[in-house]
Symmetry: C2
Subunit: 376 residues, 2 copies
């Protein structure tokens, strides 16, 4: 049976669940999150926190069946909480999120044959297949979709199963082929060392989709490297370089006739718990470093160290896309590159687009609703 009591030493309600879980719920938190304070249709909070005293007090608490009832000193209507919901929202613990499926870092031993692979039709026809594919793609940061129709829209149609496409200065979609007067190295036939795209943007695009319409030229193989694996290895092998790259930002810039987009980014970005959540690495778009002169040499040492790791065959997975295949990867985690190709020997044409992490994770959450009883 669930027990609840007022803590004698702090303005909190203490709850013990039969399964051994226990939690402390501050009075002000309980008042702010009273289910009665939310709009019934939009689920948004409408209760006004400024109308509540900071030292609001609960005078009595009662756990009864599946509900916790609280009586307030200010005489307001008692609040009623679902005890299962409360257990899922313990202060001090992150609530369950079906879109946090964990990351599986990989190195060359992943091999091209173990890159997650799915048929386009499965994604188009089945929500369950879509969900499983999204989770695999998030875990590895990389997957291949096969069996696409020979239609320039076929890849974008898959991407739109997740959400709307992220527009950038290169458009909603972009054509990766050799062009006259290129404004980006992707539009030349030269080799592209491993990089992440659009590090000059405040929010570089999340998942990238490259649908191969033709790849008949000599060369033009694709390379991938898990930036999370590189960063974690660097954290162990060279903590000084890791510290430098995760605390000092550098300027990035892209400019052409109609655009001049600049931003500062760190090469390695950590969340509040110190976990790597983003890699920004693009030597083409790196602007002129503006660090203090004495910081420059140690920074270059760290930066060059990562650059060398991203080219080390022990981190690389390499395969050549063929017409009807599409590679999908987390552009803020997995670096991509390509071998040079010879446009005289055949046509090479990839069609690309992006879907940001926000839409990607949202789709996982919504698809999880029918399967996961913990979702409210």
């Amino acid at each position: 049976m669930t027990n609840a009591h007022l803590r004698p030493d702090a303005p909190m309600v203490h709850v013990d669940w039969p399964d051994g879980t226990s939690g402390d719920f501050p009075f002000i938190w309980l008042r702010d999150n009273d289910p009665a304070g939310f709009h019934p249709e939009t689920h948004e909070r409408v209760a006004d926190l400024t109308a509540v005293s900071l030292d609001i007090r609960v005078t009595k608490v009662q756990a009864d069946g599946n509900f916790l009832t609280l009586w307030w000193q200010d005489g307001d209507t008692p609040s009623r909480f679902d005890l299962t919901w409360l257990r899922g929202h313990l202060p001090g613990r992150r609530a369950h999120d079906p879109a946090r499926t964990g990351f599986a870092p990989w190195r060359a031993d992943l091999g091209r044959d173990r890159v997650p692979r799915i048929q386009a039709d499965e994604i188009l026809l089945s929500d369950a297949a879509l969900q499983d594919w999204l989770i695999q793609t998030q875990r590895h940061g990389l997957s291949v979709v096969a069996g696409l129709r020979a239609d320039p829209e076929a890849g974008m149609e898959i991407a739109r199963r997740i959400g709307f496409l992220r527009e950038t200065n290169f458009g909603i979609t972009f054509e990766v082929k050799s062009k006259p007067n290129p404004n980006n190295l992707a539009y030349t036939p030269i080799a592209l060392p491993l990089h992440t795209d659009l590090t000059n943007q405040e929010l570089p695009p999340g998942f990238q989709f490259l649908h191969c319409l033709a790849n008949e030229a000599t060369g033009g193989g694709s390379l991938f490297c898990d930036g999370y694996a590189v960063a974690e290895d660097l954290r162990q092998s060279d903590p000084e370089a890791f510290e430098m790259l995760s605390t000092v930002s550098i300027p990035f810039r892209f400019h052409d006739a109609v655009t001049d987009i600049r931003n500062r980014k760190k090469v390695i970005n950590l969340d509040e718990d110190g976990q790597v959540i983003e890699i920004c690495f693009n030597a083409h778009l790196a602007d002129f470093f503006d660090l203090a002169p004495d910081l420059m040499t140690p920074y270059y040492r760290a930066y060059r160290q990562v650059m060398q790791m991203t080219r080390d065959p022990s981190y690389l997975v390499r395969f050549k896309l063929t017409g009807g295949e599409m590679v999908v990867f987390d552009n803020r985690r997995v670096l991509h590159g390509r071998d040079a190709f010879d446009p005289q020997t055949g046509f090479r044409h990839l069609r690309g687009c992006y879907v940001d992490r926000g839409e990607f994770e949202s789709r996982i959450r919504v698809l999880s609703r029918s399967r996961d009883p913990r979702i409210c």
Copy 2:
């Protein structure tokens, strides 16, 4: 005359300009930024840093007219730098950026009459007017465009003069009017306390455009508050609250039938120099705080403090938009709200869209090219 010499104590070139400017340029920086290492068409860096030794050395340097020439110990082709360009890229100093025009914080004394105001036709017909308007809008975070055609596209046409529109789960554009089955409080007739939009997104939208097509109902006035002013005042008056709000993140969430977008954000966001660069404040979208129980009361104290400040008349500018006017504001700086309105007394319809800071700043930079000789 410009003088340059090799520093005897460090691997750097020291340059003294006739105007008294001087700078130290590390050898590795000079090699990485050799103009010959960039693609002539895309301006992207193609030279490979891993092919350069970290202890690369300059053996001789010569300043001659407007150029600095460097001879390398490894016998590579000497590098040639434009001395004016070098002066604009001193290590340790941020390069000039025409899109950093400075912020003018404001409080109630700005008054509705001093909000920057421009005619739609000027923006549509003149690049110089567009540039001046963008700079004013960036400085104050708020402006009004008047004289729009009575056409639902008229406001979006102005926004597209800057760049493409930022799509969100509410669409590329959105209609702010009372609707049945609302999924957002904006789509009800109730009052909206001061907030910034879409704090549940990893990158909340930058500039917001609200084109008033009709505002004939009783009520429905607009409120604005400069979050930068609030934050700077809080930094002085309550450093503990400022510290809490600028270091501890809280969860935000929006969910409806097809969407579930969650992110953690800090209410006050600082850049590396400690300057306030973003405010995320939205009590409707704030998810259940998951801080440790002991942190909860001090956090609520700080959070409630800001909430009270954003409603304090000494920070507010209030005006009622009329048909043909559009308000434009930096959604990551200026909080907006509205008075309740009575849909029985008349029609109220605003049409909205967003353009992100990246596109906004890019447009300022590109427009500055013809006017500012410092742009390369």
